[in-house]
Symmetry: C2
Subunit: 355 residues, 2 copies
């Protein structure tokens, strides 16, 4: 029996609805495997926690989390209560950095049973590999002057080490896929970081002569997500560009509510964190309207990372069966609740296994 | 007779095809008005010019341009010959900055006769007001170390003055439109510039109590361009975010080949520059395949700025008539050439006027 200790952080808003849903699916996956078990330990770290304790997580939070195998997180943010940059840098981004989860892997593909908002959504199947430790998301900068002369400066930091790491991972993924890597750049407008990014990309390319490559400016790349997403295989992007492209990836699939993500510590020195692309969606929280599929597909990515790819495939198939059966939340044009969708996925998963 | 001196810079690639097309339409517009005349002065500044002279434009290029009323530019860039950041910062961005064209206005709407790649492209009609003088596009930064420790730092610079200016213009536009302004932010991830942007936005909001507002993170905002573009009216965005959103705007219209833009010096101290959203598209250049509509719609924006709004409307109507008649270039699914589309627009424009 392989038993995994998982730290569970539902977080805010719909995180508290979709995380329990996904845990049920992970329990079912363990049951199917027979040799797999999970031990869940829940942490209430969130904006509510902040309002009570003045911080998003306790000061020993990171060392507590380091004793776990993996982290399973819902969503963070309640902008009406706590400013976003405080809540996010105090929890989500804090964990990504402290756990050296330097690569964020985010697939987008046309699922069976889904209606894309694109008229002719050819059969796209892409994965964005997002740099997750530096880049445009830095805490370096500040403001100067008060009044009309006020200004803010923000530093983006790109190191060769982190840039090569994320690019190498993109190329490794491409080997087992369609063999193409696209670099998201903007070296025509951004004069230091992006030409540097391009140079590092050119260097990494030479190490993978069998992989074909292209470099596309982020503005055109975003447009291509709408015009012809089927041309992409693996896309490697900076922290910010990866963030934008993956919400777009959710949109062309049919809803950002289904887009999954994995914040990976590739070296497995610290736990990785599995957390969907969508946010806490305070406007629909607590009403049973949240789409659990993003969190459940994210659970599948955790299964993959733990080495349970076959069961992971069953989970994805159960998601697609559920969509094909028309059991969909409101964001996908249906009227099913969070628990109805979850139950349908569980039914399909357990039946499939029985058949 | 009002006669305007226009500096014409076709630039590179398809710029050399679509600019002459748009000049024909401007000539027709002048003919219709009767009291309007243009004097064109062409400048060959481009990547080819660079290869010959070692710079994109002569050292007195800016002072030469300052004697004109407006600048009409095609596209810049031949990445196989000249690195993008050299060609763009040597010409396009150089002019934007030196002429203090601090605001870039870029509409996107569903035109008659166009097939959007969106399945249900409700009747969207939005305009992105892009900060055009600073932000993420800065020449401040650099690299340090060679080898594995190499890194690049890029500074984004946001001043209250430029931020307020672009936001004020967005609110002024909203007054004559649907009365809503959306701010494109990313203050949950980017810790200094974007919270500053949010603060300035809140301040400007209070000066326009009749305009409703929202602030949306750029990742979600990009997704909304695909999911529900009809919710937007005026969107105010930083240099980079505006760049990305306006290519997306082109995509949801049906092609970035039709998206127009105006780099405005609102104070009219120096010439403004009219230049479409699309680039030089070297892959299709010289083949008669380029869509002239982006450049012609851009010409309409120049007519508007000069005070000829009625004729501008006729130009847009002639574009729509042409699309409705099915005269479309390849990017829009048709097989008409650049000159066939141009001729059709001219015919519709001149007929309309006669009728
Ligand atoms: C060519 C490039 C530098 C330019 C920009 O990013 O401003 C273009 O994409 C645009 O939108 O006008
Ligand atoms: C909430 C926010 C800070 C976060 C990000 O930008 O990384 C989110 O959008 C994501 O994509 O995980």
């Amino acid at each position: 029996m392989n038993s995994y200790e998982i730290a569970v952080i539902p977080g805010d808003g719909i995180g508290k609805e979709v995380v329990p849903a996904a845990l049920k699916v992970l329990e079912a996956a363990a049951q199917i495997d027979g040799g797999l078990a999970f031990k869940w330990t829940k942490f209430p770290w969130s904006c509510e926690y902040y309002l009570e304790h003045g911080r998003m997580m306790p000061s020993d939070g990171i060392s507590t989390l380091r004793s776990f195998d993996q982290i399973f997180l819902g969503a963070v943010g309640m902008p009406d209560l706590v400013q976003d940059h405080i809540s996010l840098w105090g929890l989500l981004i804090h964990i990504r950095r402290e756990m050296k989860q330097a690569v964020n892997v985010r697939p987008a593909k046309l699922l069976r049973g889904l209606r894309s908002p694109l008229r002719e959504p050819k059969d796209f199947d892409l994965v964005v590999v997002r740099e997750n430790s530096e880049g445009e998301y830095s805490e370096i900068g500040g403001r100067i002057h008060r009044g009309p002369d006020e200004m803010a400066i923000q530093n983006a930091v790109f190191t060769r080490k982190a840039t090569e790491r994320v690019m190498n991972h993109a190329f490794e993924l491409a080997k087992d896929r369609k063999g193409h890597v696209t670099s998201a750049t903007k070296s025509n407008g951004i004069t230091y970081s992006m030409p540097f990014w391009d140079d590092v990309f050119k260097g990494v390319c030479t190490a993978y002569p069998d992989i074909s490559t292209s470099a596309i400016h982020i503005d055109a790349l975003a447009a291509f997500f709408v015009m012809k997403p089927q041309i992409f295989d693996v896309i490697v992007a900076s922290n910010l560009f990866g963030d934008i492209l993956t919400d777009l990836g959710g949109a062309i699939m049919g809803s950002i509510g289904i887009a999954p993500a994995a914040n990976l510590n590739l070296e497995r020195e610290y736990p990785s964190m599995f957390e969907p692309v969508h946010g806490s969606a305070p406007d629909i929280a607590g009403k049973g309207l949240a789409n659990p599929i993003g969190q459940i597909w994210t659970a599948k990515m955790m299964l993959d990372f733990l080495g349970y790819k076959e069961i992971g495939e069953l989970v994805l198939a159960a998601i697609e069966d559920t969509l094909e059966a028309g059991v969909k939340t409101r964001d996908l044009g249906g009227n099913a609740t969070t628990s109805e969708v979850t139950q349908s996925i569980l039914d399909h998963l357990l039946n499939k296994q029985g058949s």
